[in-house]
């Protein structure tokens, strides 16, 4: 029905049929608007365009990052200088945060308070539950995202950069370049060579234990696989659960696999597996699962699938378990004297030809959403990249180490100092299975497959299952 027909109708009065026809047209034309917007609005993101090969470069380059962190303590003084250089820009800036746990949430608040004081800018913090934030990141970025938001380095960052959902921030990096080692710079660079990410901190995965328990029972820190399994057996006979273990959330077991694979087959093979250039049912991968089953299953706490990592950490805290392989964030479950008693050692060597110089140490940081760049967000990102901001954060959450190499490490606790050493000595650094491989493989496929393996220990079934699904997913 055309416009003049419509006016005609208005004058003459509509017949019932005409009214219906008019309605139909109205529905169609008005309906078109929500339909079109729904096309982008209801969608949810993931990873198909980023070739998995990108993973290899992302993680490989982080190795250099670590080396420089170790030398950071030498140049402590410059931290305060960078803070005072923040311009007073006023206004407000919105900040999307996934720091939803109590300790990190307070720490982020402290950082933002310091920024507000320096720049006169009000920060509206929008905190979302850590897991939900990750689940909804695509919708979030395609909707109306906050200007600055928390995210991870590596493959996970590159994907959104390639989609044009985040803003390139080379201008901000111009002021940061000399404060970051090359590895961190590369970990912040997208596939187009532009910078998209400001690193904040990283933390190593290692085997944590209580010094007092080791001293009381006369245990020594193992460096080889044989020493490690012998120690585990001894702990078992002493009535301890040798290895605290929890996989209710599905991801903690990735850490165990990453380390076993990097120790048995080496870092390069691990990265090739993450990019699926080698098959999951390769004999080398089967050997990893077999070792896990033969050597670690007897040492692991029972019923891991009903336990969260926090509960497992508590059993280490209560001296019911002897060791716990986890990220350094396990320290968040320890306070006071218990925290001082906490120590860690690197995951032991399994094959002397491979060595033990690969470390898992994911980097967390910040990005700016596609339309989020303005003087306020620029100032905030520059501040977050400064040693001052990172040390402010670490004051409240001492389970990480600063990414900025000029950060003064003299205030670090022994655990942090040791972490700087461990990462510094590493030849190669992985980001973690769910950051090194594709997101559409990690959570829907690898996570339940690993849980099933933990339950039934069927090496052939788990590798076949992973390979079958990897073949279907890595085709695009």
């Amino acid at each position: 029905m055309t416009g003049s027909e419509f006016e005609d109708g208005l004058r003459k009065g509509f017949s019932r049929r005409q009214t219906l026809r008019l309605l139909g047209a109205g529905i169609l034309s008005a309906g078109a608007i929500p339909i079109l917007s729904a096309c982008t609005g209801t969608s949810s993101g993931g990873n198909t365009t980023t070739p998995a090969a990108g993973t290899t470069t992302a993680a490989a380059t982080t190795s250099a990052a670590a080396t420089d962190t170790a030398t950071a303590s030498a140049t402590g003084g410059s931290a305060t200088a960078s803070a005072s250089s923040i311009a007073n820009v006023g206004g407000t800036v919105s900040f999307g945060s996934n720091y939803s746990d109590e300790v990190p949430k307070k720490a982020v608040q402290a950082v933002m308070d310091a920024f507000t004081k320096a720049a006169g800018t009000t920060v509206n913090i929008n905190t979302v539950d850590h897991n939900s934030f990750q689940e909804n990141i695509s919708n979030y970025l395609q909707g109306s995202p906050d200007q600055v938001f928390t995210w991870f380095a590596g493959n996970r960052m590159k994907f959104f950069a390639a989609q044009g959902l985040v803003a390139p921030i080379d201008d901000i990096w111009a002021g940061l370049t000399d404060q970051y080692s090359e590895g961190y710079q590369k970990a912040s660079t997208g596939e187009d060579g532009k910078k998209y990410f400001v690193p904040f901190y990283n933390y190593p995965w290692a085997v944590f234990y209580r010094k007092s328990v080791f001293a009381d029972k006369g245990y020594t820190v193992p460096t080889t696989w044989e020493e490690f399994t012998t120690l585990g057996a001894k702990m078992k006979s002493d009535g301890l659960a040798p290895l605290a273990f929890a996989d209710k959330d599905g991801w903690p077991a990735f850490g165990t696999f990453d380390y076993l694979n990097m120790r048995i087959n080496g870092y390069d093979f691990h990265m090739e597996l993450m990019a699926h250039t080698v098959a999951w049912d390769d004999a080398k991968v089967k050997k990893v699962f077999q070792t896990w089953k033969d050597d670690l299953f007897p040492l692991q706490q029972e019923n891991p699938l009903g336990r969260t990592w926090q509960e497992a950490a508590q059993s280490l805290n209560k001296k019911e378990a002897g060791m716990f392989l986890l990220g350094m964030f396990v320290a968040q479950q320890f306070t006071g004297a218990d925290l001082d008693d906490l120590d860690f050692f690197a995951f032991p060597e399994i094959d002397s030809a491979i060595g033990a110089d690969a470390v898992e140490a994911p980097i967390d940081g910040f990005m700016v959403s596609a339309k989020g760049l303005n003087p306020q967000s620029t100032a905030l990102m520059s501040y977050l990249g400064s040693a001052d901001a990172q040390l402010t954060y670490l004051k409240s959450d001492a389970s990480n180490i600063a990414a900025n190499k000029t950060a003064d490490t003299s205030s670090y606790n022994p655990l942090q100092k040791k972490a700087v050493e461990l990462i510094g000595a590493a030849k190669s650094i992985s980001q973690f299975l769910d950051r090194d491989t594709r997101p559409d493989f990690a959570s829907p496929v690898a996570l339940p497959a690993f849980q099933q393996f933990i339950k039934d220990g069927d090496v052939d079934a788990v590798t076949k299952n992973l390979e079958d699904q990897a073949k279907a997913i890595f085709t695009s």
Partner: protein
């Protein structure tokens, strides 16, 4: 409506009907003529706006899901980045996804459990409370309370009940059962938690229906010497037909959309896979839009089969 309009004209195919034309037709025409333009616009809006909302929010996503189930797409970027792959998603779901068959099975167990345990219990409670016993108002409130809580909160409450180390159930019975971690029992634990809520919901619906049954029916049955059980099954239950249909449909829908509790427990892994959790796992950060859509279509079909079967049966009986 259109049948009304066309029926008279079928009787009189040619428009040259004389003064002897049926008066009914004139009456109809006359009534329409009395509607003012404003009336028509208002009627148009009243029909049009809901239709529009229904189209945009229900039919469009449903049809889009069906279309996208034949695609591979990560949900980011332009529509031209969608890759059409035919039935591959469905083939992968049925052949290589180890979570699909357990999920389907769990959904069906869930449906059977609600249909044969939780719903009958809710009806039983309603019949009991309908007898106006002392304190029945308080009992009603108690049973209805869980319905007012969000399922997420129900999940948290039952997590506390079933926690292996510090939970209430293991504490009281001195047992050491890993209620949510053991994949052979966690489904049952989750269904108990869901039923706790479902029973109250069915109870209140049925109670409302029972209040509407003419007491004279029950009196007549009692005079004829029927027992309470006979009265319920032979007289009240058949009289409650519309409510029964609603209850069946609600039970099926509740069973198939089960999600919150399981998601809170362990995100639908390790023995708690449901079709709904698989859809979300593949959709969220993973961004397998096509794959999730295919799962959603399967869920839609699974939901339609029992509902359509029951409704067509019910309406057939009605028209007889």
């Amino acid at each position: 409506m259109s049948a009304d309009m066309t029926a008279p004209s079928l009787l009189t195919p040619d428009n040259s009907s004389g003064p002897a034309a049926p008066s009914r037709r004139d009456r109809k025409r006359g009534r329409i003529r009395h509607l003012t333009t404003a009336d028509k616009i208002i009627i148009g809006l009243m029909i049009g706006i809901p239709t529009l909302i229904e189209l945009a929010l229900v039919w469009f996503p449903a049809v889009a899901s069906i279309i996208l189930s034949f695609a591979r797409w990560n949900g980011v970027g332009s529509l031209s980045s969608i890759e059409w792959i035919g039935l591959t998603n469905y083939r992968n779901i049925f052949t290589i996804d180890p979570n699909f068959m357990p999920a389907l099975e769990h959904n069906l167990i869930w449906l059977l459990f609600l249909a044969f345990v939780a719903t009958p219990l809710g009806i039983l409670l309603a019949v009991m409370l309908d007898r106006e016993l002392a304190g029945s108002k308080i009992l009603q409130s108690i049973f209805f309370l869980p319905v007012m809580l969000s399922l997420a909160l129900v999940g948290v409450i039952w997590q506390l009940m079933f926690s292996p180390e510090n939970g209430f159930v293991n504490g009281v019975f001195g047992s050491n059962v890993d209620w949510f971690g053991n994949s052979s029992i966690n489904l049952w634990a989750a269904m108990i938690a869901a039923s706790w809520k479902h029973i109250g919901y069915i109870m209140i619906l049925y109670l409302a229906g029972l209040k509407g049954v003419d007491p004279a029916l029950k009196e007549a049955a009692a005079i004829d010497g029927a027992t309470a059980t006979q009265t319920f099954f032979r007289v009240v239950f058949p009289a409650m037909r519309p409510i029964n249909i609603v209850i069946v449909v609600i039970t099926v829908i509740e069973a198939l959309r089960a999600f919150d509790i399981v998601w809170i427990i362990n995100k639908g892994t390790n023995g708690l896979q449901l079709l709904s959790t698989l859809i979300v796992t593949n959709m969220g950060a993973a961004g397998r839009v096509g794959y999730s859509s295919a799962l959603a279509v399967i869920l839609l079909v699974v939901a339609l089969v029992p509902i359509v079967a029951y409704l067509s049966q019910a309406f057939k009986e009605e028209s007889r």
